[in-house]
Amino acid sequence: MVPKMIKELFTIKKLDLSLAIFIGALLVSLIGSMRYSDPLKMVGFPEQPPSREFPLGTDSWGRDLLALLLNGIKNSVYIGATAAAIAWIIGVAIGVISGLRDGLTDEVLMLITNIVLVLPSILIMMLIAAYLKERNTFFVSLVIGLTSWPWVARAVRSQVMSLKEREFIQMSKMAGLNETKIILEDILPNMASYLFMTFVLLMSGAMIAEAGLSMIGLGLTRGVSLGIILYWAQTLDSVRRGIWWWFIPPGLCLVLLTTSLLLLSTALDEYFNPRLKGG
Amino acid sequence: MILLSAENVRAYYFLPQGVVKAVDGINLSLEKGITLGLAGESGCGKSTLVNTLLGSIKPPLRLVEGKILLDGKEISKMNISKLKKDVWGVEVSLVPQSALNALMPTKKVIDFIKDALVQHKKFSDSEILSLAKKRFEELNLDVKALYMFPHELSGGMRQRVVIAISTLLNPKLLIVDEPTSALDVSSQKQVLRTLLDLKKSGIIQSMIFVTHDIAVLRQIADKIGIMYAGKLVELSSTDNILYNPKHPYTVGLINAIVTPEPEVKRRKIMSIPGQPPNLLNPPSGCRFHTRCKFAMDICLHKEPPLLEVEGDTLVACHLFSSSKGG
């Protein structure tokens, strides 16, 4: 069943396109960052437009923008994936438990969810940033992950609540299956589309959140990401000064990566919906 | 006078896994003033046939062969926009399955009517209102319903409203597809009453009623056509189908009906072994032969043609064809 599903999956053009763009960009950045291993090194004259030596020009510190971009993509994707994983695990766990239990457990978990939802995450991050002078990729992922799970919990909860009324779940219950088995065999597989899509959406959201955090100075303190490049570009007033090769490429890459992820999620939706409805 | 005729209609679904021959060589004609019941069980193709009769054919469905004539006009050749403007709602109307759930929940009934009518003719708001009011009164529907939202009406009421709306422009033919399956028996009776009133008062001339419930057809149909696996296997008057069914499938269907009547009590409930075939790969010859206790050698190889036998009955069965062993 699974190999057949995967084969059918690849007949959707949107999926092929989006996956190609995303993986293509990622591969280029992985290879590129191996070649340009030290992007923060000063290698040329500052603020040079694109040339044969530096295809994307240099920034105000004379650093190769192509090197910065390639490394940046790699780190942004890493942060996106890690933050998504953290948020996904928390959101799905809370959503499933809350969806299955009625009464107090459900109310308490939803209360926590709602509180985290309305917390102004920027303020929290500013507070934490004030305390932690060193912020690496994992920390940034953690902060984003810990504040972006509520919508996942709610979405998963409502899916679980509707699934648990389906007769086949009652049949498993009457066969004496314990709750864990029912979750793993009956509930989660029948929400696979949801689970995939939420991860993809979380990832795209996390990459944008990283850019946002970085642009207000709360991002990475070491290393480079797309957000950090934009941060420097903005701090050094590159827009007004017309240094387009500094802010356009990273912005474009961010848009490209997140759009391909969104396209992937709609392709997954298209694939999963007719199948799950049919029979 | 023939209102609708279908000549050798074949409509297939072209799917990645194969071709589903949902309607495979149907010939039927409907006279003016007649209510035809189309009965059949899951997978028999009756809903596909109904869409084909209207000309509502969208990929993956394709009309492979045959033509459909409505009042002399060839529906099967018209394009969708012409059908939408001049035919649907005006000459023929379809109330599809679960139409009662198709009403926009955020619009009042009268607004829905305005939207529906605007496609065909330029009516003024007051014209629409008076037309709707008059029609509701004719059909014993509470005029107040015009100003309500769909969820404020009961299931039965919603269905009657949908039927009233689809016949506002007095189409000659009304086709209803399982209009009462989701309703309780009392609402069902009311909807059937409304359909009967439509015909008695001349608002519509003929009706095609598609269902799996033959007892319902008994109450309102003049003729009944039995479909099985994409084919029409028997077509006759209601009385003939009930008291003198010919095709073994028809006999099986009638015998499986459970109503609290002494006649049914006398013969016990029966069933037909097996299940309807997969139309991707239907059985050879007569499609019913795998479940028929009268199956002969010829049934495996040759498809029985639909032939006229005694009493104005059409049957597609080798037990009745004049050329046995051909």
Binding site: M171, M174, A175 | S42, L192, A256
Partner: protein, 266 residues
């Protein structure tokens, strides 16, 4: 000699909806009835009558708001320990209306059969052999059915598999909620016959829930008519059909489309 298998006393279920302004929906109100062993009892009602909620309470899938359920003389109303429930479900089992929804669409149909071996006392049975025998009992060819996914089988086949599941468990009581209303009329009797066989061979009782008055008339030993959560009529099928006392039953009877008679004015 038959004895009391199930006794339902004043069963009530009230659902509360809404967070701040709580609204109460009384789905089942004061329902009482008994089921002897080896008997077919029908709960007849239309949608909203409370029959499915009653079924779920007897199957211990929903907790009643008030009232008691006695099974084999024991009070099972408050049963909630995992082991106790497993024991209960080995004796009381359910068959539902929608033959598609009763299966996990992503798993082979074999699963609904093999998963009940956890309920059976004898752990040393040859599972494959027992499953194949059960399938044959319900008129299915194991080769045609095992290893398939739900969407590859017809509704009738799927319901038969559900009955085969009961053949494996051999419960004392089956609660069948509209078991044949979603399969073709021409194949219904086959499934009902299987339930009758269980009754004849193992003295299994069946609570048969349906909206089809005619069907209930033919299969039941006792009929109960439910309307808006209450039992409004009860008795043997002949009593209920020939001498209905409640207005609702009379109306229900009058609105059934008959095969050999036409309604007045039609």
């Amino acid at each position: 000699m038959s004895w009391l298998l199930l006794s339902v006393d004043n069963l009530t279920k009230i659902f509360t909806v809404g967070l701040l302004r709580k609204k109460e929906i009384v789905a089942v109100r004061d329902v009482s009835f008994q089921v002897d062993s080896g008997k077919f009892v029908s709960l007849v009602g239309e949608s909203g009558s409370g029959k499915t909620t009653t079924a779920k309470m007897i199957l211990k899938l929903i907790q009643p708001t008030s009232g008691k359920i006695f099974f084999e003389g024991k009070d099972v109303t408050m049963l909630n320990k995992y082991q106790d429930l497993k024991e209960y479900w080995s004796k009381v089992h359910g068959i539902f209306q929608d033959p598609y929804a009763s299966f996990n669409p992503l798993q082979k149909v074999d699963r609904v059969l093999y998963q009940v071996f956890g309920l059976i006392k004898d752990q040393n049975v040859d599972r494959d052999k027992t499953v194949r025998e059960a399938l044959k009992e319900v008129g299915l060819n194991p080769e045609e059915v095992l290893g398939k996914y739900p969407h590859e089988l017809s509704g009738g086949q799927r319901q038969r598999i559900m009955v085969a599941r009961c053949y494996l468990i051999k419960p004392k009581l089956i609660v069948a909620d509209e078991p044949v209303s979603m399969i073709d009329a021409s194949t219904r009797e086959g499934v009902i016959q299987l339930l009758s066989n269980l009754r004849d061979e193992y003295k299994t009782s069946v609570i048969f829930i349906t909206h089809d008055l005619g069907l209930a008339y033919y299969v039941s030993d006792e009929m109960l008519i439910m309307y808006k959560g209450q039992v409004v009529e009860r008795g043997s099928p002949d009593e209920v059909m020939d001498h209905p006392s409640s207005e609702y039953t009379k109306r229900l009877k009058a609105d059934i489309p008959l095969l050999y008679r036409k309604w007045e004015g039609f």
